[in-house]
Amino acid sequence: MSALTRRRLLGQGALVVAFSLSRRATAQVAEKKPALPGDLDKYPLLDSWIRIDADGHITAFTGKAELGQGLKTALIQVAADELAVPPASIELITADTARTPDEGVTSGSHSMQDSGAAILNAAANVRVLLTEAAAWRWLVAAEQVELHDGAAHAPNGESLGYGELAAMLSLHVEAKPDVARREKGVRLIGTDLARVDIPAKVTGGVAYVQDMRLPGMLHARVVRGPSEGTWPKPADVDAAARMPGVVQVVRDGGFTAVLATQEWQAVKALQRLQSAGWDRPGTPLPAEDMRDAIRRLPSQEVPIFDYPGPPTPSDGKVVKARYSRPCLMHGSIGPSCAVALWENDGVTVWTHSQGVYPLRKSLAELLRLPANKVRCIHAEGSGCYGHNGADDVAADAALAARAVSGRPVRLQWMREQEHGWEPLGSAMVVELEATLADGGIAGWRHDVWSNAHSTRPVTAGGLLAGAEHDPPFPRQIPKPIPMPEGGGHRNGNPLYAITNAKGTYHFIEQAPVRVSALRSLGAHMNVFAIECFMDELAKAAGADPLAFRLAHMTDARAREVMQTAADRFGWAGRVKGGGGRGCGFAFARYKNLAAYCAVAMEVAVDRDSGDIKIPRVVAAVDSGEAVNPDGIRNQVEGAIIQSLSWTIHEAVAFDTTHRLSFDWSAYPILRFDALPATVDVHLIDRPRTPFLGTGEAGQGPAAAALANAVADAVSLRIRDMPLAPEKVKAVLRS
């Protein structure tokens, strides 16, 4: 977003979309075709993904969004590698409802698997077409044509630029399956290409939707109570409207926003509009811990897995445990923000939503517009880690801007609004029971209770502003996300070779508080529980935790990841547990179909303060073919640190009227002084194998490795998150 002018943002593309973004369902003839890789299967036309202008300019398109995970860089690498051009030759367009394929939501560590695989194979198809065009032109065999640096080269030294070749052919054709990858020349995949977005971020360039300044732009704030379920008391709107710089107070049903020429003026007016206080007119929040509260609500029983096997031996040793976590917050450092502009009876919204297409659908319903009158363009925001305020603030900005057609409006939430209104990661409870016989697992039961793990908007009722509309749009009814991905039951099925094993997800539709997708969904809790339980079983069986895991693991890649983490950590020679010092290990394959990750951790527990210090963390990860190894390390390091923050420091607090965690003092997260001393991430690269999503692979293993290390250090097991100093101290005294 370097030169972020309105022309650049609004221009281009609009005329060329209609013909290339047709879905396979409509483009396809009746006969069954072999599946194409990733989302290429949904959008098989090559020019949905790659276009080459006559001047040689190459544009790649993705329906996925840059969330700070390094997606742009990795996709540029993939396209440039297969097209044999320098990365700077690729212009990448990310999620934009007018220009890019509908790849749903950028979530679930899916981007490389869905979009990366699509672009890789589309680029391979394009390379073959370019090669064939050159061969035809020169009347030589295709094998004699070499492609590099944006041109085709003939044996006699002649060359033709990609632009000239592209002008000879159409990319508006369906991809062919099984097109071979490029064999010769310099590779970009597998190299640590520097992230394309970081230079602007370290120098104060325009990098975020928060940084957008369009001509004539107004600043807006939305007026709400402190958290979901509360309403501001009537305020003196006229007084606020007369404040310096205030252009208008927009009211629409229960929605109120204030528009001002300068941002601080909007903030001051917001303070005035909120000064009358607030009410909670509806049902009070439960007084008890949310984990206990949701257990009392009706649940729908969803099978997770059922692995038959011989019945549990009657003389087996039965082990049971219950684990839990509180509600957690996404806690984006930058409160959610959007810019909206109404023109020609339609609206354009620049948004850091993870799903521009579902957002467009929800906005169209909210604003009573046809979908083609709503354009959602992804612009980077602060990291979201799931469904935060991004979609809601997009609706807020669109509603606020409707009152001033022709003028762009930038609306950012306040800190206390992000803390108060973002959908939380659900509180969760897991109960595990296993039978040990002959030192191994002879039976296994997994039960997990949780609210929904996605309430992402697909209708107006999924947006906060939808509930403020008069009359309110019906709220979305959440459903359990089916396996193999799963929501609350994500990773509820252990990868270990177990039989006579069964898992049940107790899906609780009724949610006392607003909840939705938080990075890794239920995997954080399920992996925490399963991997803590594996340690408890190993202890009961008198086995080493790593050896016990390996004895139950047949997946060779999982074994190698575990062994690598253990070797790099020095597991065999680790400090002996006890006296406040200990080590822990944990493993999971995210969703049992994405990246493999193992984490080993050493801790030192202060018995007086309950404080956990972490001398070192070592992780190993197998992400399939590593496009950008440093990018993967960055993601896994981040996952570990974030998970340590969740698992040690975090719990959303409530009273019966509202959320109490309204800022960083009321919801503390990990700071520099509580970091591990070292975090090392080792990669096992698997060239020419499918990409395995990595962004959420580390959270579960890091949480469990920590708890296992603490148990090793103090010989007591803490099963309820967070492992905060007060709790550690209390357990040590009990």
């Binding site: 992230r195 928060q210 930058g334 409160p335 001398p615 981040g638």
Partner: protein, 164 residues
């Protein structure tokens, strides 16, 4: 009122309510993107800038207090073509994920390195503690500051266990 602020080596005269926090003048009047709104409460450090060399929360500092003081934002350190040593170290270490906190991190670290290029690891971590990162990029941020300290002729004592 009319006020003159000295930002990144230049005087800027502007009309503003004296109680306006510096952050809004930097972002609004001066169109600088580096300092970010994070909390408005001095709890996260996304808005960190230097005033007379010291790291301050621009979201809490009214401009009335700043006339005649030297204000520096990340834009005052260097550019993408000519980054400062600290910025270059952040680039080398790829010390960002979403990056929303990073300009604030750089300005806080800059204040430390101007005072001493030989802090201990514990001093470095304590100094950075007011600034929050949610992506978990902390280890890279520390690596970048250590790299810059070394490039400036000093170095952070690397005994990491001392920092605990």
């Amino acid at each position: 009122m009319t006020i003159t602020l000295h930002v990144n080596g230049r005087d800027h005269t502007l009309e503003a309510d004296p109680s306006t926090p510096l952050l809004y003048v930097l972002r609004g009047d001066l169109k600088l993107n580096g300092a970010k709104y994070g909390c408005g409460l001095g709890q996260c450090g996304a808005c960190t800038v230097q005033v007379d060399g010291r790291a301050v929360f621009s979201c809490l500092t009214p401009i009335a207090a700043l006339e005649g003081r030297r204000i520096r934002t990340v834009e005052g350190l260097g550019t993408t073509d000519q980054p400062s040593r600290l910025q270059a170290a952040f680039l080398t270490e790829q010390a960002a994920q979403c990056g929303y906190c990073i300009a604030g991190m750089i300005m806080r670290a800059q204040a430390l390195l101007e005072r001493s290029t030989r802090p201990t690891e514990a001093e470095l971590r304590a100094h950075m503690a007011p600034n929050l990162c949610r992506c978990g990029t902390h280890m890279r941020i520390l690596r970048a500051v250590r790299r810059a300290a070394t490039a400036m002729g000093g170095g952070v004592r690397s005994d990491a266990e001392d920092a605990l």
